[in-house]
Symmetry: C2
Subunit: 357 residues, 2 copies
């Protein structure tokens, strides 16, 4: 069995540990934010961590109203620009904590008085030393080059960061996530069964939107890294602005399809794709009855132990879907790599830590 698959299965336990680790860091950050609310949040990351940052971008804007920018590290590293980041909160995300360019972004921001936050797997890393507030992802050593448990750990920490900044996220809802992740793992056999059909695929498209846009990017990255498939992630809105012209019956598509704010748009795309006789595999949950009823769907069991909040505030219905939703995608990518005769743990050309010039 590949390490990737082992690490995918470790996620419920890793999420439990990570949640406990995030509580004290969150409490400390909440105090700092209470003293001075950031006017802007900047997220700096590369690779899978940058996909997590994409999630953070939506989560933080939607739940706090503070504008968010995804850093373009070259502005700092190559063009030597001193950005005016006074009053901002800068969050660097890196599995190893040794990504030189995102660390430099954080260091420069700190020199200007920005509030600095690091989300990393490694307590002894440069990032953990640099950042004032450190959220330690307790995923345990990740040996596969494809990131799985560190990605979901980063997503969880972004909920904790949002909570600290005043987002109406209930810690009890976060405590239910490891269990929901565990339920998603039950899709391993059906993901493997579906993967057989894609053995000869060389190009594909993954669609997601809003809070699940990052998952589309991450699933695409996993297929590029472990299956050598040219896979492009799109928001459903961007996809309709041009790239849909590529679609014919020979191009397979995947779509993250939760209920909630993004569903009417997803349904619209799906019916367009149907008229083009394209084949789309959906990732959804039993709560989205329309999507779950499609022939081609990986359907995540209902969230267990869910308690209705007494409060009547309007959290997005899909607020907690991104962690359980990426799990069938990870299982699929690991199975497809195997189907193609590839070792997902050691993609050609790559090593675990990438240093950027």
């Amino acid at each position: 069995m590949s390490r990737m698959l082992t690490e995918i299965r470790e996620q419920p336990a890793a999420l439990e540990r990570t949640l406990r680790s995030g509580l004290s860091a969150g409490a400390k950050l909440a105090k700092a934010v209470a003293r001075k609310r950031p006017r802007l949040i900047v997220l700096a990351a590369r690779g899978t961590s940058d996909n997590a940052a994409q999630f953070g971008r939506y989560l933080l804007e939607i739940m706090t109203g503070i504008p968010v920018s995804l850093a373009a590290p070259s502005v700092t590293t190559l063009y030597q620009t001193q950005l005016d980041l006074a009053g901002a909160m800068v969050v660097a995300i890196s599995q190893s904590g040794e990504s030189t360019d995102t660390n430099l972004v954080l260091e420069r921001a700190k020199a200007q008085g920005a509030l600095t936050v690091g989300i990393t797997n490694e307590a002894g890393s440069t990032l953990a030393t640099l950042a004032e507030h450190v959220f330690l992802v307790k995923a345990g050593k990740e040996r596969s080059v494809a990131a799985t448990k560190t990605y979901t750990g980063q997503l969880l920490m972004l909920y904790m960061v949002a909570h600290a900044v005043g987002a109406r996220i209930r810690l009890d809802d976060l405590r239910a996530l490891p269990e929901w992740a565990d339920a998603a793992l039950s899709l391993e056999a059906s993901a493997r069964e579906r993967a057989g059909r894609y053995r000869f695929v060389e190009r594909t498209v993954v669609i997601g939107r809003g809070l699940n846009y990052s998952n589309a990017q991450e699933f695409a990255l996993e297929m590029m890294e472990t299956c050598y498939v040219v896979a492009e992630g799109f928001s459903s809105a961007d996809f309709m602005h041009g790239p849909i012209a590529m679609v014919d019956p020979s191009l397979p598509l995947f779509m993250f399809a939760p209920c909630g704010a993004t569903w009417p748009g997803s349904e619209d795309v799906l019916s367009r794709l149907g008229r083009l006789r394209a084949e789309t595999l959906l990732i959804t949950d039993v709560g989205n009855k329309v999507a779950a009823g499609q022939d081609r769907a990986l359907v995540i069991p209902a969230r267990l132990g869910r308690k209705r909040s007494a409060e009547k505030w309007a959290a997005p219905e899909e607020l907690y879907t991104p962690i359980p939703y990426i799990i069938p995608a990870q299982l699929f990518a690991a199975a497809l790599a195997e189907e193609k005769g590839l070792n997902p743990d050691r993609p050609r050309t790559l090593s675990k830590v990438t240093r950027t010039l």
Copy 2:
């Protein structure tokens, strides 16, 4: 001859007209900014205009030091979030001026007291009515679905916006751009000749970085729309963080390769690709002697009539490359569509104005 090709050739004249159109709008915006400097710039756009926004993001951060965020319109439209945009400048970019979601972002920002700017081709559009400051791209009617002259017009207007916000951009340098664009058009025959080799290509990768990252995205979008090739644009840094695993001799690559801050990184990627026996077509100019000397390159003639500035300030060496650099890419996409027997003016499935749910 396709309309796309006709419109590509119209760019020098369109840029001349657009420059004149931008001067008075720029002067008015400069006065507003002198009264109150924005603390944040938000760029809102979709499709090709969003690629122009990517350029604006680098240009504005590098040349003004003000942090820039690319809007995620669904945060406003689907999740109904009221972002705190007081003190921000919000720039909406839309060829038609009728993109409902970006217009809504602008409208909400205006209600909060943000400075609002619109860049559009259409004087009578909703965007031109909504925005306080309007930069009218004078490209003339664009009939081909693939955007060419409106894209370069939008890039030019972003230089004008940056100039108004205090960037050290010399108007004389902008005045030299139509001539440099004209010189780039001389590559039409060699672009067509190169395109023949790519007739059977179904997937490709385009690499750019920093100020030319937007061009990588735009070239990829053109190949998706007009040639139905699954084409992915990457920054060279992101590409090394995983997607390089896809590379083998059967995957063709393209790279924007100017001199300047991004060249050492590009050279590094290029040598990695060489060791993987991949074939990469470079877009560069005669000023970058190393890149221009490669076997596979579309080489733009030297910038004509260039006067050395007396001032000794450190503008990025590639500051003015994005407009001339996209031109051989446009010529290549038009030629490749023809080679594949497709009509680049009317891609299947698409219409010129896309409305987003």
